[in-house]
Amino acid sequence: MRGLRFFIYFLLSAVILFAGCSKTIKYRVQGEADLTSDEGWRYLRYDENNTGFVDRHVRIPLEKEWEYKTSAEVNAQILGHRDFILAGDLSGKLYMIGAQSGKKLGKMKFKGGFAAAPYLGDPILYFATDIKGSKTGALNYRRGKLMWEAPGRDFIGQVSLGWGILYTGEIDGRLTAWRAVDGAEVWKKDLEGAVASGCFLQDTIIYAATEGGFLYAFDYRTGKELFRGDYGATFQGHITSDGRSLYLCSYDSTVFKIDSQNGEVQRKFIAEGSIRCGVALAGDTLYVCSTSGNLYALDRNTLRQYFRLDTGSPVMVPPLITSDKVFVASLNGILYVIDRFSGENIYEYDAESPIVSAPLLFNGLVIFSCENRRVYAIR
């Protein structure tokens, strides 16, 4: 009897201790996920070497598959992995949603809001939140366990990961390299202007562009400054690369093509309306959207315009590119499906609320979020 009582007390204590040490274990793992392997998914970010992409056809017309209501607006890039998506909202809530079902699999609350695009690995999510309570860290989303976190002033722009180092940029110009496994600070730099473009890692160079008009290149490991350029622009949106050149956008409507080795400006393109997001690169074509509602298709090498389509309403997020289509998400709530070669408007899906996150193509679904605090998946 005494032994049984002791065992029960031990079990209860273990449960309480475990629950107290963990944060919000409210989800369950679906399917038979292989936690050790990383196959089956590649994060479709525009910093990939432009070696082509998986052919993904999207059936037209599009119909809503599901919608999910969040607590606040989701602006940051929605990420997909295996059979779920991760969406972080501006109140700091992170949702794990079944990709096909649209059902909540888990939820976690962070301080600050998810304005910066996180980096998704398996099974680690590297995040950075903004404003009060701003934090960066690593979350094992399988276990719901926070691996580490570190405070910041206000993380903005996308985070970048490579060589075991996480790179974050802040509103006060602070660029920090953290050891991914435990969050130890490797090096940090104070740049001129908010790191609005976030961080972009290519090979062994980490790039960051600021609202002060500067582009920096540092050695990924030591933080040694390789070059710094002053372009007189208010950079916005993420950095894209084709391996040799970087593509950046600025508030004053300019697309820059910059030599990734020495920072020299190779080409410029002036759009109509300010550009608040990065470009999308597919093959030899660059796609960029502006707040005047225009989608531009440009030659990657010369920045010569192939075509322009006026959607009539500001576009704040980068377009989604498939093998033959461009998806442009507009503040008038319409997702435009455009032939990526001819610029012809093929189809429009009306979400009836301004679209505020970049569309994600995942498992045959186009997923985006709207101002009405809903995440939509359309097929």
Partner: protein, 937 residues
């Protein structure tokens, strides 16, 4: 400085303060005093629906409304890109075809000042703009107001998407500055005029200073200049990025610091330095007017000078000015510099407004001055004899709503002027000096203004935006040939030309232009031979305006902006002779060049008749506890239609002390007001039951339920009649005496109100206020007179100087009948030196005399806990006498003493009074101190 506020309060900060008054009607009438906003005109409102706007217009201005809708859609597209947002509901845009109609709007309560160019009201996000004949100005004002709409929505959206309840409020100078910055992309000469004046006259303005400036025009241009500075110094787009970062800061300074990456102090230093670098070098080539011209005026706001030589060969400058808080027409004798006031505006029905900045004067050789004033709905021409100092004629025209800038023909038999019709178009008209035989010389969509007869009477020069740059707000000068009826171009390019005046020989015309940046005076000579020379006369960085030849062309009188105001100057003829010889020009034929754009098919949705639909404007609640009455809770709601012509006001409260009484103690009043026509009227129903106490009756319960009818007829801006009628079931139960009075009462009150008062920061300073009210209550069933009332309140204010006056008040109220009212006397608002409600009776008499004078203009105290700023501290020497009695008048009680008034901003004025009592035989040795709040009487 700025502070964090809740979202619900933010809306109030953007709204005119007068919105509070309309939802607090007086007990026996509507308003005790106050001037009137008169709906002279019946408008047949319709709605033009476009993609993003509902445009409210009336049929006469249909074309203007379509163009306004087009401007609004264009502005929306641009601002949507600038702010990176869409507004998901239709924005109401209400257009009036003339400023005269605009001032009649009911969208906001209270009178609109003369020079308001448009406004945005934030309960329903309504944009209201007048059309003054200039399409460029129309376009700019619409865009300016839409910036406010986008600003408001962006701040709320930023907070809402992060579920934040509180956001920092933008300072007024930034709110207006960003609106000017986004609506007027090119460099405006007005920025140099305002900002340059501060720096060049030794008053460099810092960002900290800008917080303490009121809502006057300078903060518009200072704010605009700051936005330009941020744009050029920190990068294009940084101004708009402030809005993206708005949620990140506790106050505006923090947001600015976050976005620009520097401390507020550093930004301020850079700002001031940039302005110094910009303006100080201007003095190396230009001059300030005080140093190059003879300064004729030194006080007030002086514009539109005209030279006149009287029958005694005394030289005068006749001009318009605001020297005492209202506009007027003055004459300055140049021999002894004596100033004479000819006409006082804003004090009487004939001179409701003198259009200080918009309309010039005309003085004929025989001493007849023609000037324009507003009377009732439209303008009239006044002919004033400067020799006899009398009005000799007045006339108005049925078709013309607005008239400006008259000019005499050389023989004094004709007048030419600019007129605006109900359709909104501004054209040149000519008539006989008696007002007969009105002829329209131009008839088109262009704004034609400032016409002047040539000395030989054959041509008229005028400014017009009919040229190719006119649509961008840069008018040219044109000649109208009276014989042939043709128009020729005198000068027209992208500089803009205004206010022409002929030389006496007819070979030259002087005018103003922003050709060199700031507005200055230029001359075109050689007009007779057709080969003209264009040359500059003045180079004043702060601008020169309204030039007129004087002394037989030997000098030029003009108005210039300096040290924050406009003064008149006289520049010798040598300035014109010395002016730099410029380009040679020829008079050219004129060809019509642009048409106002219209709404195209895809944006146009349809036209509907206006239907009255109500929406909630105000909903607020209060819960309070009173030691005497107990707990009280209430709710008030206000609903209005889009045009503000129809209002529902509802008050619900409950004064129950226990759940048993809850239903019985429910009080409710619902009133409907109709302000659509000249006669404003209202009806309502109510039910009240309160436990009350006063010194005479003791504790008692009063219950009323009934209906009320209200009517107000304004004779003009300054006088009105009001009729308020109650039909109610009345019951009064005395607790102490166990007595009850009840009856079905019919009670009409009739009031005559006159108010010509001019106000300064603590109360009226000139004019008069009068309220005469009579009322009687009859028991409908028995026919007996239940009570009666007479009230007379006369207040007169005799101006001594700009900020001082002698104020008097005579007040008498009497009540009689079966259940007369008792009134109270004593306290800071009536008989000073005595306690609040010290005396009561059916009759009250009060006489007050007071000398009001300025003490301290402003005092600023910086403490560790914050900064305190007190403005307009005024003093008062007063003498009061009065009494309250029932049947027998006892003796007068008096008091005299010294007081101080401090305006804390908005409506709050603190009052401190130190008084000695007197019974007119002895004087108390003790000094009685009173501290309260409220305006001077």
């Amino acid at each position: 400085m700025s502070f964090r506020i809740s979202l619900s309060i933010l809306k109030y900060l953007f709204l005119s303060v007068f919105i509070i008054l309309i939802y607090s009607p007086g007990a026996s009438g509507q308003y005790y005093f106050g001037q009137n906003k008169v709906q002279y005109t019946d408008f047949d409102w319709q709605v033009l629906s476009s993609e993003h706007f509902d445009v409210y217009f009336y049929p006469e201005e249909r074309n203007v409304a379509e163009t306004g809708a087009r401007y609004a859609e264009d502005a929306y597209k641009q601002l949507s890109a600038d702010f990176a947002m869409v507004i998901d509901k239709k924005i109401p845009l209400i257009i009036y075809s003339s400023p005269a109609y605009f001032t009649q709007t009911n969208v906001i309560p209270g009178l609109l000042p003369e020079n308001v160019g448009g406004f945005t009201e934030f309960y329903k996000e309504r944009v209201v703009v007048p059309f003054n004949g200039s399409y460029n100005n129309f376009r700019r004002v619409i865009k300016h107001e839409l910036v406010h709409v986008f600003t408001f929505n962006k701040l709320f959206y930023n907070a809402h998407k992060r579920k934040k309840l509180r956001i920092a409020s933008p300072p007024l100078w930034f709110t207006e500055g960003i609106a000017e910055f986004l609506s007027e992309k090119r460099d405006a000469p007005e920025i140099d005029m305002i900002v340059g004046d501060y720096y060049l006259n030794g008053r460099p303005i810092s960002l900290y200073d800008m917080y303490y400036m009121g809502g006057a025009y300078p903060i518009y241009k200072l704010g605009q200049a700051f936005c330009q500075f941020v744009d050029s110094t920190y990068g294009s787009g940084k101004v708009m990025l402030l809005f993206e970062n708005w949620h990140k800061g506790e106050d505006f300074e923090e947001i600015l610091t976050l976005t620009l990456g520097e401390s507020f102090d550093e930004i301020n230093k850079k700002w001031m330095y940039s302005q110094k670098k910009k303006y100080y070098p201007m003095l190396s080539e230009g001059d300030l007017p005080d140093f190059v011209a003879d300064k004729l005026t030194r006080k007030g706001f002086n514009v539109k000078p005209q030279f006149y030589r009287d029958a005694d060969s005394v030289n005068w400058i006749i001009f318009k000015a605001n020297r005492m808080g209202y506009s007027g027409i003055y004459g300055l004798r140049l021999d002894n510099r004596r100033l004479v006031s000819f006409v006082k505006g804003e004090r009487s029905a004939n001179y409701e407004s003198l259009h200080l900045l918009e309309s010039s004067l005309a003085v004929s050789d025989n001493g007849l001055m023609a000037f324009i004033s507003k009377k009732n709905e439209s303008d009239q021409v006044n002919i004033y004899n400067l020799e006899t100092r009398r009005i000799v004629d007045r006339f108005e025209f049925d078709d013309l709503v607005r008239i400006s800038s008259p000019d005499w023909s050389p023989d004094g038999k004709k007048l030419v002027f600019s007129g605006i019709t109900k359709r909104g178009h501004s054209d040149i008209y000519i008539c006989e000096h008696t007002g007969e035989d009105l002829q329209r010389l131009t008839d088109d969509v262009y704004r034609d203004s400032s016409p002047k007869f040539s000395p030989d009477g054959t041509r008229i020069v005028f400014s017009s935006d009919r040229g190719i740059w006119g649509h961008d707000g840069r008018p040219g000068l044109y000649l109208f040939d009276l014989k042939h009826g043709s128009i020729r171009t005198l000068i027209d390019n992208d500089n803009g030309y205004y206010s022409p005046d002929w030389s006496s020989g007819g070979d030259s015309v002087i005018f103003t232009s922003a050709a060199g940046g700031a507005t200055n005076i230029y001359i075109l000579s050689g007009i007779k031979n057709g080969h003209m020379k264009f040359a500059r006369i003045t180079d004043l960085p702060t601008g020169a305006f309204d030039p007129a030849f004087a002394f037989g062309d030997s000098s030029i009188v003009f108005s210039s902006f300096s040290s924050g105001t406009f003064d008149l100057y006289n520049l010798g003829a040598s300035a014109a002779e010395d002016s730099t010889a410029g380009d040679s020009l020829e008079i050219e034929p004129y060809f019509s060049s642009w048409e106002p754009p219209k709404l195209n098919g895809e944006l146009k949705k349809g036209v509907l008749s206006y239907k009255t639909k109500y929406s909630l404007d105000i909903a607020q609640s209060v819960v309070a506890y009173d030691a005497l009455v107990g707990p009280v809770g209430g709710l008030q709601l206000a609903f209005t239609d889009m045009l503000g012509n129809h209002q529902y006001y509802c008050v619900v409260s409950n004064s129950a002390n226990s759940s048993r009484d809850f239903a019985k103690r429910f009080n409710i009043a619902v009133t409907y007001f109709n302000r659509e026509k000249r006669i404003n009227w209202g009806i309502g129903g109510y039910r009240f039951k309160y436990d009350l106490y006063n010194e005479f009756d003791g504790d008692y319960t009063e219950q009323q339920f009934g209906v009320v009818g209200l009517m107000s007829y304004p004779f003009g801006r300054f006088r009105r009649m009001e009729l308020t009628t109650y039909l109610r079931q009345y019951e009064k139960e005395y607790i102490l005496f166990d007595e009850r009075i009840k009856g079905l009462l019919f009670t009409p009150y009739l009031s005559y109100i006159k108010d010509t008062s001019i106000w300064e920061q603590t109360g009226p300073i000139e004019g008069m206020r009068l309220n005469l009210t009579v009322g009687v209550s009859y028991n409908v069933k028995t026919g007996e007179q239940f009570s009666r009332l007479f009230l007379g309140d006369i207040r007169k204010y005799f101006r001594i100087s700009n900020y001082s006056c002698f104020a008097t008040r005579l007040f008498y109220i009497t009540s009689g009948g079966k259940d007369p009212q008792r009134y109270f006397l004593g306290g800071s608002w009536s008989l000073r030196g005595y306690g609040f409600r010290s005396f009561y009776g059916r009759n009250i008499f009060l006489s007050s005399s007071e000398i009001r004078f300025p003490l301290i203009d402003a005092i600023f105290i910086g403490l560790p806990v914050g900064n305190f700023d007190f403005r307009a501290i005024r003093g008062a020497l007063f003498f009061d006498a009065g009494d309250a009695w029932d049947d027998d008048f006892d003796r007068l009680k008096g008091s005299f003493g010294l007081g101080a008034r401090v305006n804390l901003g908005a409506f709050v004025v603190l009052r401190f009074d130190f008084a000695h009592r007197t019974d007119f035989k002895t004087v108390s040795k003790k000094t009685y101190f009173d501290f309260f709040f409220g305006w001077n009487f």
